[in-house]
């Protein structure tokens, strides 16, 4: 480092310290994840190497690979993101974007970028934010409160089943969660590309995670840019956990919920009202 740059280095170092201590706000060209500070300038070169082929030079999802892949790569210029901890219609946090980049999107061409260093991934988050001016005008939304999970009792699972019926999840996801509900075949995402609802019977991870808390966030924040709405206005937090527990029973996984359900089912199957139409006024 040349001495004449020393004052600049000192100032930016001070700025960095202020930022990390939470005293100075981050600009839209920066990201902060777990104490690691990223910049769009550093992310740009990494984007060129790893992301541009699908997401495009302009970040609009029109990279040269895009024409051959399904679903299409994210268009960062609209600042609409599927996986958030923030309410529908609001921007994700830097952490949300970092997790998406790290985890990748299962059942798509977006791989997990965990092999890249943490610094690289945080720089990429900062660069992704530079594609839309919304980051300057709005800023990230406030993450929703996820209360402590309630116990996964049979009562909880059965109430969750009632919610699955009442909230009409089955209309897209199908009565058994196979993604074959009456509305499933006509679903289009917000760019008018065909899209299918999650099929619980595959047991695959979700695009936005794999834990119970991830499921909670998925239907309480909605999957923006897709037909999946937010149910935050319609479900109380305790009820939301009941729905999470029921959804686990639809997957062929050895979860506590599924195990309890399949142990209970043989003796009680006849008591259950079938999920679907012809239920109380539908």
């Amino acid at each position: 480092m040349k001495t004449r740059n020393a004052p600049a280095v000192l100032v930016s170092g001070l700025g960095l310290m202020l930022m990390l201590s939470g005293l100075a706000p981050l600009s839209a060209q920066e990201a902060l994840v777990g104490g690691v500070h990223g910049t769009a300038a550093a992310g740009k070169e990494q984007y060129r190497r790893y992301c541009l082929g699908c997401h495009g030079q302009a970040g609009d999802g029109n990279g040269e690979n895009a024409q051959w892949i399904e679903p299409k790569p994210r268009d960062f210029t609209t600042a609409t993101f599927k996986c958030r901890s923030t309410p529908t219609g609001t921007l994700p946090t830097d952490d949300d974007l970092y997790h998406s980049v790290t985890r990748g999107f299962v059942n798509t061409n977006m791989p997990p970028w965990a092999p890249l260093t943490r610094q690289t991934r945080v720089d990429l988050v900062a660069y992704i934010k530079s594609f839309s001016t919304r980051w300057k005008t709005q800023g990230a939304g406030t993450p929703i409160a996820v209360p402590a999970e309630t116990p996964a009792t049979m009562e909880s699972i059965l109430h969750g089943r009632e919610l699955f019926q009442k909230m009409e999840c089955w209309k897209c996801h199908g009565p058994a969660g196979h993604g074959d509900g009456p509305s499933a075949s006509a679903l289009l995402d917000s760019k008018d590309n065909p899209i299918r609802p999650y099929n619980f019977s595959t047991g695959s991870r979700f695009k936005c995670g794999e834990t119970n808390a991830d499921i909670y966030r998925i239907f309480m924040t909605g999957v923006d840019g897709t037909p999946m709405p937010s149910f935050a206005d319609n479900l109380q937090p305790e009820e939301a956990w009941d729905l999470v527990h029921f959804l686990r029973t639809l997957q062929p996984l050895q979860t506590p919920e599924a195990t309890a359900w399949h142990a209970w089912l043989p003796a009680h199957e006849g008591e259950l009202k079938p999920i679907g139409p012809d239920q109380g006024g539908q």
């Binding site: 009456p182 289009l188 917000s190 909605g222 923006d224 840019g225 937010s230």
Partner: protein, 239 residues
């Protein structure tokens, strides 16, 4: 003494006549009105099959028709949003709540015109759930479920934009929020007419927007009182 009385009386008379000569603000405000029509052949509207939602199908004695081109007598065009796009000072957002309803698996009204910043409430009068999914690009896109019996969803749109609205559960449902920068707007009825009142004298740009036919604008000068009719003619194609 008499002169003084005459003088003061004259003053009173002059004052009275001067006051009478100053017009009230309403007299000076002009109205731009007109009709929107089409030439050519518009596409035929088609009946919507609501068999997948029996509770909605049951609400319509005859099938509902698609609504993207609704015409009336004399080749009039319905559902055209006509508004002042330039020349009017920015309007503060009104406090009056605009209402949008999901009823019979349709959006009522098909096009809701409202101002940027105006409070909006979206209700569900049906027995089935809908999700309300405004496909905003200038404003933020969001997507919320509205189960039957739930309280109306409250929303506001910050920026002017024509926002397409859909329900993913019922793919035949289409509507629009016409979020406008001005308080001077109208949506044409079946006779295609519109009337924009209360415009102070000045030069204005009047814009007509139709979801299929597109946008047209005209520049009009309001000099005070009514102005000649301003008509819009859209070219219609059968597809």
């Amino acid at each position: 003494m008499r002169t003084k009385h005459v003088a003061s009386l004259t003053l009173v008379v002059i004052a009275a006549s001067t006051m009478g000569a100053v017009p009230a603000p309403e007299d000076r405000a002009g109205t731009i009105s007109g009709t929107v029509t089409f030439t050519g052949t518009p596409p035929k509207m088609r009946p919507i099959d609501m068999a997948k939602e029996p509770s909605c199908a049951a609400q319509h004695a005859t099938p509902v028709m698609t609504e993207n081109v609704v015409t009336g007598p004399g080749n009039s065009v319905q559902n055209v949003v006509v508004y002042i796009s330039a020349g009017a000072p920015p309007a503060p957002a009104p406090a009056e709540v605009a209402h949008y309803d999901q009823k019979g698996c349709e959006y009522i009204p098909h096009i809701l015109a409202l101002q940027a910043g105006q409070p909006l409430e979206i209700g569900n009068s049906d027995k089935t759930s809908h999700n309300i999914h405004p496909l905003a690009t200038v404003n933020s896109e969001w997507n919320k479920s509205t189960p039957p019996g739930s309280p109306p969803i409250k929303a506001t749109w910050d920026k002017p934009e024509f926002i397409a609205v859909k329900c993913n559960v019922h793919p035949w449902m289409h509507g629009y929020f016409a979020v406008l920068p001005t308080a001077h707007y109208a949506v044409t009825g079946n006779d295609g007419t519109f009337s924009l009142k209360g415009l102070p004298p000045g030069k204005y740009t009047v814009t007509a927007w139709h979801e299929k036919f597109g946008t047209q604008s005209q520049e009009i000068t309001v000099a005070g009182g009514d102005v000649p009719k301003v008509d819009f003619v859209f070219k219609a194609l059968p597809y």
